[in-house]
């Protein structure tokens, strides 16, 4: 599991926003907007409800009048165009009053056990004013501009799981839909998308009065919700090895199931061809100015052309066609194309792979305990079997330990420093996995084979963190990113992309080596048409 491959990840049927919408549709969830209290300046609040058979969740949205010079996607921003909380149930006026005092302040405020997430969004300056102008005149927005940007607002942080007072993750653990990883956050983002459209139409009505138009549904569907993500997300995958393993295992299992099919039915071939064609459209409309992403996009487009030609030449009519196709891709396509194909072959087989979604949640507390009765000899064997990728790295050259991960005093956010140029390396976070594995390996040389780890760790507690990881990885083959995460050439955006692909994101547009913009829910149904839309046929 290498960063280059993780950095070429694509969304799939198992991505959280797709599994969320499938579940909401299957359970016939209803949606409404019981509160809309926004004034002529676009300031106010609104409530969007998702009502299911057992529970109701409400997005409480606050719209603000933000001066242009205060708008920033950076985590150090202190004001936003809109702020949100996902409420567990239907909020009363008292709840809304309480949230109105806290949600607009984001990290500086405080929410409660009744809230499941805290988030904010900024307008796309480019698209927002264009859409308001056009709608106010009774006209539709320009399709090219809609597709060029892809969203009216982009979220810049979506916090959940016990942060800033929000309900602990354990609150959701047993719930049918929200028990899946990030489903609560993905629900909030989906409802924020509706809010962004409602607000832009509201502003057009204020400006244009009676003649103002609404965005016609086909165009509206092309609007997703943007997201701007920085380094804060990167350490998550490293700090949750069992969860990362669960996500990767689910996807690998799904791919293996499809590869084991002896033939592709005509129906499956039709679905695959349709989704391949959509992937080509997506690649054609996906733009980036980043020097790393430009050649990758070029390669992806060429890959998809090749793949389409290969399919048209009868590749799907062979025996074990999916296995053959994946085998072919390993030499014929770039990593972008290989990963896109691996996601695409799952498309016709919901009945074969969708049941893996519940396996993507994991009880991390259950694997936290160290087995101190394990011997040094057994631990050495695990290091040799599972960490040879790490113990073979020489971390002494400056470039191989050029970075250090830390948490900033300013915003309590993860950052990446230059070890040899910036102060603070003594406060390094334990993301130097490969270097720590080397240190443990070296420390064990002095130990007797039959020494048990409880005794070793009592004498040498500095290895406790790494021993835990080795024991977690012993039964979880995808627990570790097999890469030197403090290397001078490591690209944090590769970690971001992998995680965001599991969310279901598309159109990855790196803005630097540690910052990426994406689009979520592009072409997805809206709450008011989910019931009538074909199931999971949008991504």
């Amino acid at each position: 599991m290498r960063l280059a491959r993780m950095g070429s990840a694509h969304q799939s049927r198992l991505s959280f926003m797709r599994s969320l919408l499938r579940s909401l549709k299957r359970e016939n969830w209803r949606f409404d907007r019981p509160v809309w209290s926004v004034d002529k300046n676009g300031v106010g609040h609104a409530v969007y409800r998702a009502i299911g058979p057992r529970r109701t969740y409400s997005l409480v949205a606050f719209a603000h009048d933000l001066p242009d010079d205060m708008r920033s996607d950076r985590v150090i921003a202190t004001a936003w165009d809109a702020t949100f909380a996902l409420f567990d149930g239907t909020p009363t006026d008292v709840d809304i009053a309480r949230l109105s005092q806290n949600v607009p302040k984001q990290e500086a405020g405080r929410i409660s056990d009744r809230e499941l997430s805290l988030s904010r969004a900024n307008r796309s300056v480019r698209l927002w004013s264009h859409v308001v102008e056009r709608l106010a005149k009774g006209e539709q927005p320009d399709e090219e501009q809609i597709d060029g940007v892809g969203y009216l607002m982009r979220t810049t942080a979506v916090y959940g799981s016990g942060k800033f007072g929000a309900a602990d993750r354990a609150v959701l653990a047993g719930r049918t839909i929200m028990g899946a990883p990030f489903h609560a956050e993905m629900l909030a983002v989906w409802l924020i998308r509706s809010f962004s459209v409602d607000l832009v139409e509201h502003m057009a009505r204020i400006k244009g009065g009676e003649r103002a138009a609404r965005i016609e549904p086909p165009l509206r569907h092309r609007l997703g919700i943007g997201n701007s993500t920085g380094l804060g997300m990167a350490p998550f995958l490293v700090n949750h090895p069992a969860l990362l393993n669960a996500w990767m295992t689910a996807r690998e299992t799904a791919i293996a199931r499809v590869r084991s099919l002896s033939h592709a039915t005509p129906e499956a071939q039709v679905v695959f061809r349709r989704r391949l064609s959509r992937a080509r459209e997506n690649a054609a409309g996906w733009h980036s100015e980043h020097p790393v992403q430009i050649p990758k996009l070029k390669a992806l487009r060429a890959d998809l052309d090749l793949l389409a030609a290969h399919v048209e030449s009868g590749a799907l009519d062979e025996a074990f066609p999916w296995d053959a196709l994946i085998g072919w891709s390993e030499t014929a396509l770039s990593m972008e194309g290989q990963e896109q194909l691996a996601s695409l072959i799952l498309e016709p087989y919901g009945d074969l792979v969708d049941d893996l979604v519940p396996t993507m949640a994991t009880d991390e507390a259950a694997c936290f305990r160290i087995d101190g009765t394990m011997t040094v000899a057994a631990l050495r064997a695990l290091l040799s079997r599972d960490y040879d990728w790490a113990t073979g790295i020489d971390h002494d050259p400056a470039a191989r330990c050029a970075r250090f991960w830390y948490v900033s005093e300013e915003k309590l956010e993860p950052r990446l420093g230059q070890r040899h140029e910036e102060p603070g390396a003594e406060r390094e976070e334990p993301l130097d996995i490969s270097r720590a594995a080397c240190a443990l390996d070296a420390a064990l040389v002095e130990e007797a084979d039959d020494t048990i780890l409880a005794d070793f760790l009592l004498r040498c507690p500095e290895y406790r963190h790494t021993v835990r990881r080795v024991q977690i990885a012993a039964t979880r083959p995808y627990a570790e990113i097999r890469e030197n995460l403090i290397d001078g050439e490591m690209l944090p955006i590769d970690m971001l992309r992998c995680k965001l692909a599991y969310f279901g994101a598309s159109r990855f547009d790196p803005r630097s080596d540690r910052w990426v913009r994406i689009c979520l829910y592009r072409n997805a149904p809206f709450p008011d048409d989910l019931a009538d839309a074909p199931e999971d046929d949008w991504a």
Binding site: A365, F368, R369, Y406, E422, P423
Partner: protein, 194 residues
């Protein structure tokens, strides 16, 4: 008294222990133990704050393992504990040792009985019953049949003001002050208001 989430107790306790000088692996145990105690209605954040204040530094090299280190070593061998009583040894924060054994009971789905002068505790998966006086320094532990319980409420808890401030002050020690370089590095690279 501030109301904090169990996740915040875990994270703040972990960072505080690290800020006090604990190695990361023990700091993680401190976070989980503080959370476990709080979830069972016991003063987890408060016990850890007192320990860190007493120690103000890592116990490694002092020859006297702190409650985090000795509790971890004891819990690491929890599968070896049988009917013969094993002593946890002297230490200054018995609740943190008890938490380690409680977490082992959760993870292993095994029952344990702890006894100390004037009191004792029965532990099993998601179950904790303390009788008599508060846990004292010398405890003995045996494995026993104890009925398991249901997971404790994940609701937020009240924590003592001073203890919470102490933990946050220790946690602050692992933060790196902002510099021009760090701000530039974390940024969006190109424009971020478009």
């Amino acid at each position: 008294m501030p109301v904090v989430t169990l996740a915040e107790i875990d994270a703040t306790a972990r960072k505080a222990a690290r800020g006090c000088g604990c190695p990361w692996g023990l700091a993680e145990e401190a976070g989980k133990s503080a959370r476990w105690l709080a979830s069972h209605g016991l003063p987890g954040a408060e016990s850890l704050a007192a320990l860190l204040q007493n120690r103000d530094g890592c116990c490694a090299g002092t020859g006297i393992p702190c409650a985090l280190a000795s509790g971890a070593a004891f819990a690491d061998r929890a599968t070896e504990i049988g009917e013969a009583p094993v002593t946890t040894g002297e230490n200054e924060a018995s609740l943190l040792v008890l938490a380690q054994i409680g977490r082992a009971a959760d993870a292993l789905d095994r029952g344990f009985v702890l006894e100390w002068q004037g009191g004792g505790a029965k532990l099993a998966r998601h179950a904790l019953a303390i009788e008599g006086q508060d846990a004292a320094s010398a405890m003995t532990c045996t494995a026993a049949e104890v009925e398991s319980g249901t997971p404790p409420s994940p609701a937020s808890r009240l924590v003592d003001d001073a203890a919470w401030a102490t933990l946050n002050a220790f946690a602050h020690r692992i933060l790196v002050p902002a510099s021009d370089a760090s701000r530039a590095g974390a940024g969006a690279g190109i424009r971020d208001n478009d």
